[in-house]
């Protein structure tokens, strides 16, 4: 893989992953493992090839102030770190969702075009 391709692919992946994390937390607090499970189920494991990559993303979003974390007890009585959307995280989710839709729409429209546009 060339470096340029790798980098741009990574950027897209990272942006998408951030958006999915925010979405995963929009229904309430979850720990990392639950988020990974949800993303895996929803994307047929296409996005999260290596589950570990989820964690740096979580910590990054927390640093940005979009997530808050606290230690709690998981369903099977284990100590786990739970993440929750902050107010800023919630508005970020709204903003990114709508821009994602616009982006996808634009790309789809372009791909649906049957002939080059008249000059």
């Amino acid at each position: 893989m060339g470096d340029g391709v790798a980098a741009s692919e990574l950027d897209v992946l990272r942006g998408t992953l951030d958006l999915l994390i925010l979405k995963a937390l929009s229904w309430g607090p979850r720990h990392g493992y639950a988020i990974a499970e949800w993303i895996g189920a929803i994307t047929d494991s296409a996005l999260l090839v290596e589950e570990g990559t989820l964690y740096p993303a979580l910590h990054r979003l927390e640093r940005r102030g979009w997530l808050q974390s606290e230690w709690g007890v998981s369903g099977n009585n284990r100590k786990a770190k739970f993440y929750r959307l902050s107010a800023r995280g919630r508005s970020q989710l709204r903003a990114e969702t709508s821009s994602w839709h616009r982006y996808v729409e634009a790309v789809s429209k372009a791909l649906r075009a049957s002939a080059p546009s008249p000059a």
């Binding site: 720990h31 990392g32 570990g52 740096p56 910590h59 927390e62 998981s74 284990r78 100590k79 786990a80």
Partner: protein
């Protein structure tokens, strides 16, 4: 289980962040493995599969940690910022609650920092700062650097000032300097700036110097516009008449007109072209005297054609400056320059057949000093006093620090109770210390800001204060950032130190002890433990009073000295005398024509309405020139070499009557004493008592240059040229018998001092007689006299300024101390009043204590000031170092200040209601 996973991946957590990340990752791996086991894998397989699905654990862990550490750092910064803001807000509120304390500390800091910086800026500008030219340390000054506006005529042997030919000899003979220039004063300059060629326009005044063509090149100054002089501009033959103007003159006179290059100005009616403007900040090589323009020596022939300054070896008027050649030491240059100068002087004396001059030339001292700080008259007159003032500045800064420390200590003591309560309520000690320190820093910053303002305003004000005339001395005393920084750092350091020390101290107290002491305080025994520090505070205030006494006495003596000088009996009636000193060199007046000129002008001046009397003399009064001679007196044998010297003047008829001098014996110079009549002279009392201690001088004779004069009168001693003058032997001969050519001629006109048109009328009279005559000096005699003591006035003003400053600071210090003691003793006062003391008794108690302090300060300060006054004895005139009047005034001023400083807080103490006071604290 999680711990097992952590061990399995060697995730050894070191701190909380590491542990959290490790726990989180371990939880994920454990959950995934468990799910795989549930799906039927063996535990070992499940573990391996979980790790595979997870990816690079080490890299992921590192990434998470980096994010977390960044987050922690940001949060920490925000926390600190928040805490500081809280502390500052709290400190501000706390200081606002005690406006008196805060105001006093801020004012003390502000005045201290500001005044220190301002005075230092002045000292720096006059004494310390090198010229604003490239590599000033390489410059060498040749001649007496204080004689910037002098001219010496008569002897060719002069090493303090140089004639043009001697400068050329020096320049051509010296190897140790890479370049050399000469500069000298101008004679009278009438400046006209016509808007276009030939237009008539008013005469203006400007300050300018003649310089050699190498001037700018040696100083390393390039033109900001146009060009500077080259060696070619220097030659007197066929030189294009050009000048270079200063940036200041360009802005002031030409409104910074960019087309000024090429404009023609008229200097004494000679047209000269402006060829360049110097860069801003360059005012010449003379400190305290900024030039409007510079003229090359070559212009002498056009601007001052009759003066003979350009080629006469007996007219010395130049100062010389050179730049050391690479690798040459000052010592070597000094040796070589002295040798070249002496050689040139001796050769000339030899060719003039003057063996006495040859000897004098060989023995002459040639002053060669560092030229880094330029030439300056201010330096020699103000040098020592300014150094003294600097010492005063240092002391003032010390006082400021001490005062602030005292106040902070006082406040900390007062607040020990508050601190104890806060500690008891569970406040952390570090937090309280930080709080107290913050208060100190806030005070320091506000005080520092005030200091900058005071320094800014003060440096301008000081220069104006130091300048006796309307125009400030252009020393360019701008606030020096380094000095400001220094003064601020010292004060801030003080605040920090004396903020921290009591902060630590007052928060270290054992709780029960402090609380106990608080209750004991109500019983009036507060002075127990704080006693020693209280004594230190008293000592400090006494020391401040002593310093104020020192400065006040110094200033008082200087002021007294000036008043005495101004009132000193000059021997004639100075009021209403107007002086017009004329430069008659240009007209070629000789013998009878010279005598006629004086007569004609006298007649014209008499015709001016309001003029009561007119006389004239060669040197006049306070007009700047003086003559001396050796003489032989009939029947007198000289014992020492200077026994036969005397000063002299040639005076017009009725001279002593006109100036209002009293004749002791004989008669005035009269109209009959003309050329051809018997030569006569009037001598002064000093001369009479020296040569004729026992006999009557009338009718005796003196011989000067083989001409014999008969003494016809004795006049009381007159102060002709200086108020400080001690009587010297002087004789007056009739101007009309003088003969020869004349240089200057001074008219002394008695007229109504309220006549505003005096100057114009006198000038017109001169012009009507001969329009080519220049005017050297014109003005009321009293103004000329005041001018002659301007250095004294300046010094007295500066000393006065400092004395007042010290007094204010001492008063503040006393105020602070008294307020502090009163707060400490409020409960004691309450008790006293409860037991029947009247408020007046409390007032007296406090006042008496401050007056005792003041007396102690006086007791130290007065003897010290007597010792210190010896340093300024040279500046004093007919005032004893022990001057009862000064001491009395100083004592009264101090007593008043001390009373006022103490009365304010004391009256507050006396108003306190007994009950409230007992409840206090």
């Amino acid at each position: 289980v999680t711990g097992g996973w952590r061990r399995a991946f060697r995730l050894g957590g070191r701190d909380r962040l590491h542990r959290d990340v490790d726990d989180e990752l371990a939880f994920h791996l454990a959950m995934r493995a468990q799910r795989l086991v549930e799906a039927g894998r063996t535990p070992d397989e499940a573990r391996a599969e979980a790790l595979r699905q997870f990816g690079d654990v080490g890299a992921i862990r590192a990434d998470c940690l980096t994010e977390d550490q960044n987050r922690e750092r940001t949060m920490h910064r925000a926390d600190v910022f928040d805490a500081v803001r809280r502390d500052v807000t709290y400190a501000w509120r706390s200081l606002r609650r005690q406006p008196g304390f805060s105001l006093v500390v801020t004012l003390t800091l502000g005045i201290g920092i500001g005044a220190t910086t301002a005075i230092f800026s002045l000292v720096d500008a006059v004494l310390l700062r090198p010229l604003p030219v490239a590599h000033p340390e390489q410059l060498v000054a040749i001649g007496d650097p204080s004689r910037v506006s002098s001219m010496s005529e008569g002897s060719t042997v002069n090493t303090e000032l140089y004639s043009v030919p001697l400068y050329r000899d020096l320049r051509d003979g010296t190897r140790s300097l890479s370049g050399m220039f000469a500069s000298g004063r101008s004679g009278h300059l009438d400046v006209r700036v016509p808007e276009r060629a030939g237009a008539t326009t008013a005469v203006e005044r400007a300050r300018a110097r003649f310089v050699s063509g190498s001037y700018f090149q040696v100083l390393g100054i390039r033109a900001a516009a146009g060009r500077v002089f080259t060696a070619a501009d220097d030659r007197d033959v066929d030189a294009e008449p050009v000048i270079v103007i200063s940036d200041g003159y360009w802005r002031r006179r030409f409104a910074a007109d960019p087309r000024v290059i090429g404009r023609v100005m008229m200097l004494n009616d000679a047209p000269v072209t402006i060829i360049g403007v110097t860069p801003p900040g360059f005012t010449g090589e003379i400190v305290g005297q900024s030039q409007d323009f510079w003229m090359p020596l070559g212009l002498l022939a056009q601007v001052q054609p009759a003066y003979g300054w350009a080629d006469d070896r007996s007219i010395s008027w130049l100062l010389v400056m050179g730049r050391l050649a690479p690798g040459v030491t000052m010592g070597r240059a000094r040796t070589e320059i002295a040798q070249v100068v002496k050689q040139a002087l001796a050769e000339h004396a030899a060719s003039a057949m003057d063996p006495g001059d040859v000897t004098r030339a060989r023995q002459a001292e040639v002053p060669v000093t560092s030229g880094a700080r330029g030439f300056s008259r201010l330096r020699s007159t103000f040098g020592q006093p300014l150094v003294l003032l600097m010492a005063g500045v240092g002391l003032v800064l010390l006082i400021v620090c001490a005062n602030v420390a005292n106040l902070l200590l006082a406040r900390a003591t007062v607040r020990q109770g508050e601190m104890a309560v806060r500690l008891a309520l569970g406040a952390a000690r570090g937090r309280l210390v930080r709080q107290l320190l913050t208060e100190a820093v806030v005070l320091a910053i506000v005080g520092g800001a005030l200091g900058v303002l005071v320094a800014w305003w003060g440096s301008t004000a000081l220069v104006r204060l130091a300048s006796p005339a309307e125009a400030p001395i252009p020393v360019g005393a701008r606030i020096d950032a380094r000095v400001l920084l220094f003064a601020s750092l010292v004060s801030l350091g003080t605040v920090a130190l004396f903020g921290l020390f009591p902060a630590l101290r007052s928060t270290r107290v054992g709780l029960s002890e402090a609380l106990k002491r608080r209750t004991r305080g109500a019983a009036g025994s507060t002075l127990g433990r704080g006693g020693s520090r209280f004594a230190a505070g008293k000592l400090l205030v006494a020391a401040q009073v002593a310093l104020s006494v020192l400065l006040l006495v110094g200033a008082g003596l200087l002021v007294r000295s000036i008043v005495t000088l101004q009132r000193t009996d000059v021997g004639y009636d100075r009021d209403g005398l107007f002086i017009v000193s004329v430069d008659a060199r240009g007209g070629g007046y000789m013998d009878d024509r010279a005598a006629l000129l004086a007569e004609q002008m006298e007649r014209r001046m008499r015709a001016i309405p309001g003029v009561q009397d007119v006389t004239y003399s060669e040197n006049g009064l306070f007009a700047g020139t003086e003559s001396g001679t050796t003489l032989q007196v009939e029947g007198f044998t000289a014992e020492a070499e200077d026994d036969t010297t005397a000063a002299y003047d040639h005076v017009g008829p009725g001279y002593f009557h006109a100036v209002g001098a009293r004749l002791v014996r004989g008669r005035d110079i009269e109209a009959r004493d003309v050329s051809g009549a018997p030569r006569v002279a009037v001598i002064n009392a000093a001369m009479a008592s020296f040569f004729f201690p026992t006999s009557d001088p009338i009718g005796r004779t003196v011989t000067i240059d083989s001409l014999t004069y008969q003494i016809v009168g004795v006049v009381q001693d007159l102060k002709d040229h200086s108020l400080r003058e001690t009587p010297i032997r002087r004789l007056y001969m009739p101007y009309q018998q003088r003969g020869g050519s004349i240089g200057t001629l001074t008219f002394i006109v008695r007229m109504d001092p309220r006549m505003p048109t005096a100057a114009k009328a006198a000038r017109d009279a001169v012009a009507a007689t001969d329009p080519d005559l220049g005017i050297y000096e014109i003005g009321w005699l009293t103004d000329l006299m005041r001018d002659s003591i301007r250095e004294d006035v300046t010094l007295a003003r500066l000393a006065g300024f400092f004395a007042v400053l010290a007094l204010v600071l001492a008063a503040i210090g006393l105020y602070g101390l008294v307020s502090y003691t009163i707060v400490r003793r409020t409960s004691e006062f309450g008790l006293r009043m409860a037991l029947g003391a009247a408020p007046a008794n409390v007032l007296t108690l406090v006042l008496r204590e401050s007056l005792v302090l003041m007396a102690a300060g006086l007791a130290i300060g007065l003897p010290a000031s007597l010792a210190a006054a010896r340093v300024i004895r040279g500046q004093l005139y007919e005032v004893s170092v022990v001057d009862p009047l000064t001491i009395a005034v100083v004592t009264v001023v101090l007593a008043l200040s001390a009373t006022i400083a103490a009365l304010v807080p004391a009256s507050r103490a006396a108003r306190v209601a007994p009950l409230e006071a007992l409840r206090h604290e």
